[in-house]
Subunit: 404 residues, 2 copies
């Protein structure tokens, strides 16, 4: 008689985005004359840039002819892409990196979810609170999270690191000692960042206690300030204690294209075992390479035209972020984020809960945000707004909120 993985049964329903969508639907049905604007979406809205489109078309044409057709890609990624990544994302920032430390994948979400495979179930995991739910849910599925306590909204075996206004939305070193630490900067959902000096503290800490840091840098392209690190490997010693995930989703609008990569440095060892070798084995056994045409699209992001065009796209979104941030501040709201990230983290006024303010915003301004409490208990009292809408909608949404 087969047995299921009972850890799955402990997962609470993931109702956040479905409840947001239902409330919007119900409001629209009751008020067909109102135009609702969504500032809740984490998905991009601008089309792929011309350099990427050209690369996709060219590679597709190659697939149409026997002489240039490509079958199975190398499991770990084509060299042309791994070399472009090394050169542009690391060497250009003074970080030494070899191509065989880069593992190309179908996106950072898959990698964040799958990385747990190479670690024992018997590890204590620390996460920020609020947090991107994938880190928590995938550790719960693996049996590392303990049990879910519906009252505290926490898992009994996870170490939560609160990120609130009081600490500038930057986690403090935890009191309990973790084995695996998830960090994401620029942060989803708070939009906060840490300086290179702050991140160095985490690297030093991980090295001291023998922990590994899973560093999610999916939003690094949105960094505008100089002292904010783009990669954890800008910190001394990070290659001996950190795995980094990168995504093409937000830097080049690849949410529907699917491409990302994970860095597992060769220096990262435990008891003489190379984690690079473990991840190579995992990747080679449970994954069959990212599509050739999409790896060519990724390569195009690093060409001079690709860089210029994606920079313009990011500037478009970051102008939205500025409009939201400045507009809300002017209207008297307390906001953070939106300077090095496409997310604005807004404190709810008048002591309202996240959901209460969500409802007020929907009813009075016909604007949809994402309740901060959906990202963890320390997100209560906040709302996440995103810069991924159109300029016109963003301007109108902020005007409406200002008049509330």
């Amino acid at each position: 008689m087969f047995k299921i993985n009972e850890e799955y049964l402990k997962l609470p329903g993931s109702y956040l985005f479905s409840t947001v969508a239902r409330k919007q639907r119900e409001f629209e049905a009751a008020h067909p004359d109102k135009k609702v604007i969504r500032l809740s979406i984490g998905d991009v809205t601008q089309p792929l840039v011309p350099a990427v489109i050209d690369a996709l078309k060219k590679a597709t044409e190659e697939m149409a002819h026997k002489e240039t057709f490509r079958g199975y890609a190398p499991d770990l990624g084509y060299d042309f892409l791994r070399e472009a990544i090394c050169k542009n994302d690391f060497h250009a920032r003074g970080v030494q990196m070899d191509t065989d430390e880069i593992f190309v994948s179908d996106g950072a979400k898959s990698d964040c979810g799958n990385i747990g495979d190479i670690f024992s179930v018997d590890n204590r995991v620390a996460v920020c609170d609020p947090v991107y739910p994938v880190y928590v849910d995938t550790n719960a599925m693996a049996g590392r999270a303990g049990n879910y306590d519906a009252f505290t909204e926490k898992w009994t075996n996870l170490i939560y690191m609160p990120c609130m206004q009081e600490n500038g939305f930057a986690p403090e070193l935890p009191k309990e000692e973790p084995d695996i630490i998830y960090l994401c900067f620029p942060n989803n959902p708070t939009g906060a960042t840490v300086t290179k000096a702050q991140l160095q503290t985490w690297v030093d800490y991980a090295l001291r206690i023998g922990a590994v840091i899973i560093y999610d840098a999916a939003y690094e392209a949105y960094i505008s300030e100089d002292d904010v690190p783009h990669s954890i490997y800008e910190c001394d010693g990070a290659k001996a204690c950190a795995i980094e995930m990168r995504s093409f989703s937000k830097c080049a609008g690849f949410t529907g294209v699917r491409l990302g990569y994970t860095v597992v440095p060769k220096e990262l060892m435990q008891d003489g075992v190379s984690l690079n070798a473990l991840w190579a084995r995992r990747h080679g056994t449970k994954f069959n390479g990212a599509p050739y045409i999409i790896q060519r699209a990724g390569e195009a992001v690093y060409t001079p035209e690709g860089k210029r065009q994606t920079r313009e796209q990011i500037a478009y979104y970051m102008n939205n972020a500025r409009i939201i941030r400045e507009g809300l501040a002017k209207a008297g709201y307390s906001v953070s984020g939106g300077i090095n990230a496409p997310y604005i983290w807004m404190k709810t006024p008048d002591g309202l809960t996240s959901w209460e303010f969500f409802d007020r915003l929907l009813e009075e301004a016909n604007v949809v945000g994402t309740p901060g409490s959906g990202f963890g208990p320390s997100g209560e009292g906040y709302l996440r707004l995103t810069a991924f809408g159109t300029l016109e909608n963003t301007l109108e949404a902020i005007e409406r909120i200002s008049k509330m």
Copy 2:
């Protein structure tokens, strides 16, 4: 101090294809005048068909414009593709299937590797011998395989079901009772199939003992005989005991494009828990959808032009299979497979081991095969040849072998 997943350390090196490649390289270096022909590759060589290329180009153009751009795909797949799959792969064969039983993915290898996530570590697993290594290695990584015994070349906790000439390369019901049974028909590597009546025996057995069957139907498009089932769901009761994996890699040459799907029927339950719901949760948490343009390419496979063009491509490969099968039989070799599968399973002559015959074939005919022993101990004494080469190379290879 973080701890790695020590199960990975038990995995023997996967040297099969690297040793094959090394021996070819060494031979070519020593004999630069000889033209080596590879009948060892499981990868396709024909370009994508025009219907697929057109769909890729059209979808790429959509991604270039704001009005038609698509961001995140639905985690479980676009309805247009899930509906085409239901209609063509199931309804057309009289099998009832709903779109929400279809989970679109980046390929059958990922799904075969990841499906274990939803099952407890505490399950006895049965595999055919010889076998596609992914089933074995991923269960070993999860801790279900026990320890690897280098002498027997078997894992201590797996149940092996030998598939040899004596039983027509069809496994017999195992003596020990398994919880999870992996079956692959048409089979890689043997090219063997089972009839619908034979497969019904397995479904009845699984229902009787409460086992789940993981059915890999990646090669179903190569079936030419009428009584060979294309889907396990052609058997009565299979929806209550079987998960099926499908691939676009071999039926439409998508090895470098990456698209597949898994069927988890809603009837498949354990202790009141729906495995469909578990897989939906896994898929939604650790995967972010297959690329839009590639799902459109998959949809094109089911259009009248797509069907006709991919059928022609399969006929091309199956003509190669016939040439290999008939040519080797005429030359006095014992061969099987190649009628409902692109693989020909060749018995080594003169009591040679797989590797001894591999060497002789390379030296005397300058042809590369894949030693059967690399797929498991019961593969010893066999060689796998594939039909995925060009017609010209296939003809020449068989002529050379015939003259040996």
